[in-house]
């Protein structure tokens, strides 16, 4: 209970409960292992009117170690159609991988993903989506993504 992650997350939880950034809402945070957040892109974008769920999974070393973040895909939810988002909900974003920094936070990640969606020009799946989804590990942190596209 007194792990680094629980102390830090309880602070983040307090902040999210008092003031969530626009377009982001806390859906479920009953423990310090897994949180669900809702995000939608405000203003004009290809995702107008759509909303998505993000699942954050924390290990006790958070925020030194990055959270595992993916879009929720179930009978009611889909991952956004985006060149960096696989249909299983896995996201190819450098800040979730080798550009993670412990000064980032749950809300910073949500805002980054929001802007990743907002700047999207064409709704499509990443190249090789089917192959990736077939062989992908359950935990997206185990995937070694190549961050080759800085434009989106």
């Amino acid at each position: 209970m007194a792990s680094i992650s629980s102390r830090r997350l309880s602070k983040e939880l307090k902040e999210l409960n008092t003031e969530c950034p626009a377009g982001i809402k806390l859906v479920e945070a009953s423990n310090f292992d897994k949180w669900i957040l809702g995000i939608e892109v405000l203003g004009d974008s290809l995702y107008k009117g759509e909303s998505f769920l993000l699942k954050f999974t924390f290990d006790p070393g958070y925020p030194i170690s990055a959270p595992a973040v993916q879009f929720v895909v179930d009978s009611e939810h889909e991952a956004p159609l985006h060149p960096h988002v696989y249909s299983n909900g896995h996201i190819c974003a450098s800040i979730l991988g080798d550009a993670w920094s412990p000064v980032l936070s749950v809300s910073a990640v949500c805002i980054t993903l929001q802007s990743m969606l907002a700047s999207c020009k064409k709704k499509e799946r990443p190249e090789g989506n089917d192959r990736y989804v077939r062989f992908a590990p359950e935990n997206p942190k185990k995937t070694k993504f190549l961050y080759d596209d800085d434009t989106v």
């Binding site: 792990s3 680094i4 102390r7 983040e12 170690s65 550009a99 920094s101 412990p102 000064v103």
Partner: protein, 117 residues
């Protein structure tokens, strides 16, 4: 009128001297400066410590960013850090800082008071 002081109660207050490049401060949240890694005020201690002050000191980078030393070391000792400052991703170089050199600020002398036990 004659006043006799029967007893008195002294209260001391300490703060880390964050140096000159820390102006009037973007202390918007009224929380004081917090360590970007653990989000605990600098005057508090990192999650691994029980006692703030000298036992849980701060560390300054050449890039001017400040953290609890223990927090920063936890990060720097991971491969993922690539030995970069968490704030600006510049290579982390610990800045030399000696408390004696820090120039006194406009604050009353208690700014120099030693950390409470």
């Amino acid at each position: 009128m004659k006043v006799t002081v029967k007893n008195w109660h002294a209260i001391a207050h300490w703060r880390w001297d964050l140096g000159a490049n820390e102006p009037e401060n973007d202390d918007i949240d009224g929380e004081g400066d917090v360590c970007g890694i653990c989000r605990v005020p600098f005057e508090g201690c990192c999650p691994s410590c029980k006692m703030p002050g000298d036992d849980c000191p701060l560390i300054w980078g050449e890039c001017t960013h400040v953290f609890h030393m223990h927090c920063l070391l936890k990060w720097i000792n991971t491969a993922a850090s690539k030995h970069q400052c968490p704030m600006d991703r510049r290579p982390w170089v610990t800045a030399e800082r000696t408390v004696a050199k820090s120039k006194p600020t406009q604050e009353p002398p208690l700014a120099n008071a030693p950390p409470l036990p």
